[in-house]
């Protein structure tokens, strides 16, 4: 094989965005080593700049002709571009919100940024991974960095507990996933590339018990990542104990990577058992929507509330996956895009509040509007958007999911989604009520002793920028959502694997209809 041929087969240009992040990571670590603590004044901003540069590089890859690279190990198609963008953006915002938080906890910021960038690289590669080994390595990169991040504030016992819990459950779920994947390797006759596996499975015994077992195990691993019920047990505890910026990243970036993996794996490898995986995901979606929303009602800690809310939101997103139509996939992408803004906006507000008062209790938010109108506005808008109140971004996201689900004939699931979103409005508005409605005399102690608002501390400016940007995005992304819709629809339309999957499922439907008619 000549060099030119090899270069063409490697097609290394597709991972330019990841390369930028890796370069940033190396610079950040080296600078931290050489210059020492003083460098933390600017390394986080360097990391943000690197991540944004990677997003720009992703933009340039939007219309790429030949997305397959590294001999089929990585597929940089439009779908992966969008998901990689979501992950990179969520990491950028996470860094903005973590600067003052990590400094206040008394741990080193440089290392934190380094680990977070590693997790980002893992997530980005996972979104495009097209081969079993690649999938597993990027999954592990993401997971192991996430374990490190959850335990990062090592003087806090709850953070340690969270890390241990996450590590134990995460490791076992990875093991299960790996077992499932190894079954696939065997069943397909020793293939590791996803498309080759699919071909191998189709040529082989077809639908067998072993294949179904492999499916179930693979789904177990994915469901752990997107924290779908009943694989959600770690979520509330980890969310409560970990540093809040990490939670923000886990709930958006890590989840987006999980959904990207879910789409790719299910669509490419498991068309043979499509009925089965639809059934499993339907069950997961129902359980997540019901349990997430109902348990969130009784929470008293803001971080636990957001944990259950993120479980419920994952349930809504699964609707799009179950629909398995073009509109279904693009509604997932669209929802992840708006979820990125609204959830991160909520987390920034929670961090800001805990920085100023040192608590996460919902009851302590009482009467906040008097002392901090911007924070109240930000948290109210993000929570109402998560609850799906028009005309905020979340409303359009949910509407698109429900519309796509309805078109695919998932009437009962959509009705369940509608009903549970009524429940969700109740607990979101409970927090808003605490902040906005309570009179001055009902003010909580934390709010009474609220420090005067100042943005001049180190890192607070970054937090403010993050808050304002995500707040504006959450408020306007709904009304001016056409670019986002185009992005979501375009990413699905350009992605070959989804196109062929949609077409083949339509063909199957058509043939069944024809046979029914006959």
């Amino acid at each position: 094989m000549s060099f030119a041929e090899l270069a063409a087969q490697l097609n290394a240009g597709t991972i330019l965005p990841e390369s930028i992040v890796i370069a940033t990571l190396i610079v950040v670590i080296m600078v931290d080593l050489i210059v020492g603590r003083t460098s933390t004044r600017w390394t986080p901003y360097l990391a943000v700049a690197g991540l944004l540069a990677s997003v720009v590089a992703l933009f340039s890859q939007w219309d790429i002709n030949n997305p397959v690279s590294f001999l089929g190990g990585f597929n940089g198609d439009a779908l992966s571009v969008v998901f990689r963008g979501i992950i990179a953006l969520s990491a950028a915002v996470t860094i903005l919100m973590s600067i003052s938080y990590i400094e206040q906890s008394g741990t080193s910021l440089g290392e934190f940024v380094g680990i977070l960038l590693t997790a980002t690289i893992g997530g980005m590669f996972l979104s495009g991974a097209n081969e079993l080994v690649m999938i597993f390595i990027s999954l592990e990169t993401l997971s192991i960095s996430s374990y490190l991040l959850t335990g990062y504030t090592k003087r806090d016992p709850r953070s340690n507990e969270a890390a241990l819990k996450y590590l134990l459950i995460g490791a076992s779920s990875t093991a299960i996933f790996l077992y499932g994947v190894s079954l696939l390797y065997g069943l397909s006759g020793g293939e590791t590339k996803l498309s080759a596996i699919a071909a191998g499975l189709a040529a082989g015994s077809g639908q067998s018990l072993a294949l179904v077992i492999a499916l179930v195990f693979a789904i177990a691993g994915i469901a752990f990542k997107i924290s779908a019920v009943p694989f959600h047990q770690w979520t509330p505890d980890v969310y409560e104990g970990s540093p809040t910026p990490v939670v923000a990243f886990l709930s958006v970036g890590s989840k987006a990577a999980g959904f990207a993996l879910a789409i790719r794996l299910m669509v490419t490898v498991f068309p043979l058992v499509s009925e089965q995986w639809h059934f499993i995901f339907t069950a997961l979606a129902i359980l997540s929507m019901v349990l997430g929303n109902v348990v969130a009602l009784t929470q008293t800690s803001m971080k636990r509330l957001l944990a259950y809310s993120s479980i419920a939101q994952a349930g809504f997103v699964m609707l799009g996956l179950i629909a398995s139509t073009e509109a279904g996939y693009s509604s997932m992408v669209f929802y992840m895009l708006v979820y990125l803004f609204m959830n991160l906006c909520g987390f920034i507000c929670v961090i800001l509040f805990s920085l100023r008062t040192g608590t996460d209790q919902i009851s302590e938010y009482s009467g906040l509007y008097q002392k901090d109108p911007l924070l109240t506005l930000g948290l109210s808008i993000s929570l109402l958007s998560l609850g799906g109140i028009p005309p905020l971004a979340g409303f359009f996201g949910k509407l698109y999911l429900f519309w796509a689900g309805w078109q695919a004939g998932l009437y009962l699931l959509v009705l369940l989604g509608l009903i549970t979103s009524v429940v969700s409005i109740y607990y979101y508005i409970r927090v808003v009520k605490m902040m906005v409605v309570k009179e001055p005399q009902e003010m909580s102690d934390a709010v009474k002793n609220y420090p005067p608002i100042s943005w001049n501390f180190s890192g607070m400016r970054a937090l403010q920028v993050g808050l304002v940007v995500t707040l504006i995005a959450t408020s306007l992304a709904g009304i001016l959502s056409n670019p986002l819709f185009n992005l979501a629809n375009g990413s699905v339309a350009k992605t070959e694997m989804l196109q062929s999957a949609v077409i083949s499922s339509q063909v199957v439907e058509a043939t069944t209809q024809v046979s029914v008619i006959k």
Binding site: I389, P391, W406, Q407, V437, F485
Partner: protein
């Protein structure tokens, strides 16, 4: 042109919300009043340019918004929505004018009221199912805050009850709209192309059922009404005015536009049961009103009863009864606003709304003679005394519905009689007799408190004397609602015939 009615209050709300903090509540009120008055004048301008002889949508604005969802930003106005739009502007003006000068958190309050106005206007204007739903939901959160922050003792309970009921209503509506569009095979939510579509009857009945329950919560109809008395009792006077005067009309408007308009066949099937439902609602509201001792609660239950007439008339769906529907919407909006305003003044001055404690407020020296007179005017209008708009609307409804549902109409007429019973009870106890010792030293009533009520009373009498000034806007549209469906016209004689044979 129509967009200004939505965007003027929204931009106004943003301006008011971000006014500097040192501006007094009084000036904030003046600024918001100026904004909403401009919107009201604009709605009058639209009314003047409106061509009443045409039954189609006018001033149509249509912009593509989100293609993936089939959502278009299309607005239009016809004879059904125009009077309601003007009513919305008028009552919001009155609500802002009659708000307490020294209200707490004025900037937040007025921007919410402006948002509410924009949401309601948008819902009346929307020519796209999804757009209607969007505006229908937009008013939810502002109204929740308006009750929960500036309400009475049990405001939290009332506000959350309102919120949950209305959210359920919204969800049902969304499900029904999704169903309508999907089952009819349409790719967009635009109203006009959908209307003529005919689905299998079973599907129609299912979807219509969801729409009926959704709007039944909003109107509200017994037994979905329980949020309304709580919300009214806890809300402050201006908010009660808006709630009764305008927001409930969203329900009846939706019933006509999306119930009767989209499902003529299924509507015809359900009409007899709807008429019975109307009777239940009317009689339950009226009887419960008799038992109340809180003036505001009495007015709230009378609201339920009066909204029931609209269901009766829309079930009958004759041209005359539909015209009566519109009259009743306007007249109920004006009359209940007047009653809530007057009750609000009494409460403010006397410190109580309890019928058993108040007595002889009409006393010319130390009582509230002018307010008392206005109350009597409102009560008379509500009870349907000729010469007021209440009489016209009820007469039209009963005259129009009698040919379709004679028995139900007669039962509803009993409800009108009961209206006189409970309101006479109220007037008799509260305003006549010797001034009670418990309420001496009433503070002076300002003219600013009388003017809004007096304006409303004037309009009520004006339209009572010259009803055609209101009817001319609407007649073409309501007639057109029936005409494309000759099926109903054929059924009506049959129904009245079979009813006539009953002993």
């Amino acid at each position: 042109m129509l967009s200004a009615l939505i965007w003027l209050p929204i931009i106004g709300a943003a301006i008011v919300a971000f006014l500097p903090g040192n501006i007094s509540a009084k000036i904030t009120r003046q600024i918001s009043f100026a904004i909403i008055f401009a919107a009201f004048i604009w709605s009058l301008v639209i009314a003047i340019q409106f061509k009443p002889e045409s039954s189609t949508q006018q001033f149509i604005e249509s912009l593509p918004w989100i293609d993936s969802l089939g959502l278009t930003y299309s607005l239009g106005v016809d004879g059904l929505s125009l009077p309601l739009l003007v009513l919305n502007g008028l009552l919001t003006c009155i609500a802002i004018y009659s708000t307490d000068e020294k209200i707490i958190r004025p900037r937040f309050y007025y921007s919410l009221v402006l948002l509410l106005n924009a949401g309601v206007s948008g819902a009346f204007l929307a020519q796209d199912l999804l757009l209607f739903f969007l505006f229908y939901e937009i008013e939810l959160v502002p109204l929740y805050f308006l009750i929960a922050i500036w309400g009475g003792a049990r405001k939290n309970y009332a506000a959350i009850k309102f919120l949950l009921y209305t959210t359920v209503s919204g969800i049902l509506l969304l499900a029904a709209f999704l169903g309508v569009v999907w089952f009819s095979g349409s790719t967009s939510f635009a109203y006009e192309p959908l209307r003529t579509h005919n689905l299998p009857l079973g599907t129609q009945l299912l979807l219509l059922g969801a729409i009926l329950v959704a709007f039944g919560i909003k109107i509200p109809l017994v037994p979905l009404h329980t949020w309304l008395p709580d919300a009214h009792v806890e809300a402050s006077t201006p908010i009660s005015v808006l709630l009764a005067g305008v927001l409930l009309k969203l329900g009846t408007y939706g019933l006509l536009r999306f119930g009767l308009g989209l499902f003529p066949e299924a509507w015809q099937n359900l009409a007899p049961s709807l008429a019975i439902w109307a009777v239940v609602s009317v009689l339950y509201g009226a009887f419960t009103a008799i038992a109340q001792t809180d003036m505001k609660k009495m007015v709230a239950y009378s609201s339920i009863a009066h909204m029931g007439y609209i269901l009766l008339a829309s079930a009958a769906a004759t041209p005359l009864s539909l015209l009566g529907c519109l009259y009743q919407m306007i007249s109920h909006g004006l009359i209940s606003a007047l009653l809530f305003l007057v009750v609000g003044v009494v409460y403010k001055k006397a410190g109580t709304r309890d019928i058993n404690l108040l007595c002889g407020l009409l006393n010319p020296e130390r009582g509230l003679p002018i307010i008392g007179s206005l109350m009597i005017a409102g009560v008379m209008a509500s009870a349907g005394i000729p010469g007021m708009i209440g009489f016209i609307s009820e007469f039209l409804i009963f005259r129009g519905s009698f040919e379709a549902f004679p028995v139900e109409t007669l039962l509803c007429m009993i409800g009108t009689g009961l209206t006189s019973v409970y309101f006479l009870l109220l007037v008799n106890r509260v305003f006549f007799g010797r001034l009670s010792e418990k309420v001496v030293d009433l503070p002076q009533v300002q003219w600013s408190e009388r003017i809004p009520a007096a304006i409303l009373a004037g309009i009520i009498i004006l339209f009572g004397v010259v009803p055609s000034w209101l009817g001319r806007w609407t007649e073409a549209s309501t007639t057109a609602m029936i005409n494309p469906q000759p099926a109903i016209a054929k059924v009506i004689p049959a129904v009245s015939f079979s009813e006539a044979k009953l002993p």
